[in-house]
Symmetry: C2
DNA sequence: CGATCCGTTGACGGTACTCAACTACCGTGG
DNA sequence: CCACGGTAGTTGAGTACCGTCAACGGATCG
């Protein structure tokens, strides 16, 4: 979900510093380049209203139910979005990386909370200002529509995962989506989040996630390579697992 | 998710008939009136490009993976949106009623399929034309952004339901959301969809849904009132159930 | 009247949860 | 230097919720 509002390389720019320039979005390779749709006049305007900010791991910086005064773009690090139930049950509804956007709520209040997984850089845009900019620069609104539409499609995929897939299928799907998103040459995949986070994203418990990891390692699909990274050895086997390949070896 | 593109009362208007006039949206009482944001010049333009269409129950009229050439608005009846896995498992990602919009995909293809639950009226807008209209009438794009944002928030709620709630909590949440959406004076709720549909929406089996219905009836929360309708007798008890009230009566 | 679909109910079993013990890995500080 | 506590992760034993399979009742329809 790239947006010109946030570019990976302008992460720590000061408030008044103009964005470097329009450049190809490096976050989602292969996707259409939405950055190209933004003219420099728009960039100047957007740059003027944003506030750069850093967030330490474990810090919650958006709370569900609070007034939705700002829209955020992630410039570095990983953010988790989640919802809580009164008894503490938690559902993580998404992990955001550089280029992603959140906080654009349908009503007056945020519908999810946001917490930094790793050290995070974000840009904060006052929502009212941003909305006013829509009428002046329709390209910005168009981008936001694209981003939200993509997020909706991802949410629908996740509903299929949560409603209908087994634990093995869920973890396989999750690892593949990370592989696709990170797109490292070798099959390495960063896992900055804890087992508990993964569990809360996949609708499982930490123990089940751990057990499934063990099975996947044992079957040679993946290999652990130090803390916080794994290697995907057999993406095809993982893809079959993700889509319910009936392993009728009996 | 109301949109001026579709108004409940213009449901069966012919292709060339102009929409009656801008009027208060009756689909989502209490919500802000997005219809008011559309000027009559836009309405004329939108009316000119739409095609009215009716769909019989059980007919699939949008297929996941097919080129996304049209955007649809529902004018009457109930539509289910769903995703399928290769082995037949199904997840319904939403039920749409009059005023709802779908088919606005992030890429070139639809990401979900659509099937009529009851006899359905829809309006079809060529996607390219609609997108071109965005630049001319920004209000339309703004509405669509509102609609999609609302759908995303609903999808996140559903992720919490699918990932973390028990069968009882799921059905209670579902019935309450229907009650809120239909907002009938008495506590009556229409259930035009089958038990299997409800199960596929809640990530359960038909049998479990049936069993939980029986329990809810037995506990006096709801009462069956003929086929396809129930009465909600105790919305508060249902609300407690929906949010995991630990019924420690022991 | 048989066929089919939808829904209900029962018996049984499996996947994933709960509870618990244990290891590894930190950084802290005695 | 190593004991110490805290967090993250792994593994095991037992269990519960919900899925599977199956039988049955009622409604609709040709």
């Amino acid at each position: 979900m790239p947006l010109a509002l946030a570019t990976r390389h302008s992460a720590h720019a000061a408030v008044v510093t103009p964005l470097p320039r329009v450049h190809t979005c490096q976050v989602c390779p292969g996707r259409h380049n939405v950055c190209a749709a933004v003219r420099s006049s728009e960039l100047d305007r957007l740059t003027a209203m944003r506030t750069a900010q850093t967030v330490a791991p474990g810090m919650t910086f958006v709370d569900e139910g609070e007034p939705a005064l700002h829209v955020f773009t992630v410039t570095s690090g990983v953010v988790k979005l989640f919802k809580l139930m009164s008894d503490g049950r938690r559902q993580i509804v998404g992990f955001l990386v550089a280029g992603d956007v959140f906080g654009f709520a349908p009503g007056e209040k945020y519908t999810v909370s946001a917490e930094a997984v790793s050290p995070v850089g974000v840009c904060r845009f006052p929502r009212r200002q941003l909305e006013r900019a829509f009428t002046e620069f329709p390209g910005v609104e168009r981008q936001l529509l694209d981003v939200i539409t993509r997020e909706l499609a991802a949410a629908q995929d996740q509903m299929l995962l949560l409603g209908r897939k087994t634990a093995h299928e869920r973890l396989a799907s999750f690892l593949l989506s990370l592989l696709r998103r990170q797109d490292n040459e070798d099959g390495s995949v960063d896992l900055p989040m804890t087992r508990t986070d993964i569990a809360d994203y996949l609708g499982l418990t930490m123990e089940t996630v751990s057990r499934v990891f063990t099975v996947l390692k044992g079957s040679g699909c993946i290999a652990a390579t130090g803390s916080g990274t794994i290697h995907i050895l057999d993406a095809d086997a993982l893809a079959e697992l993700a889509e319910g390949a009936a392993d009728d070896d009996a």
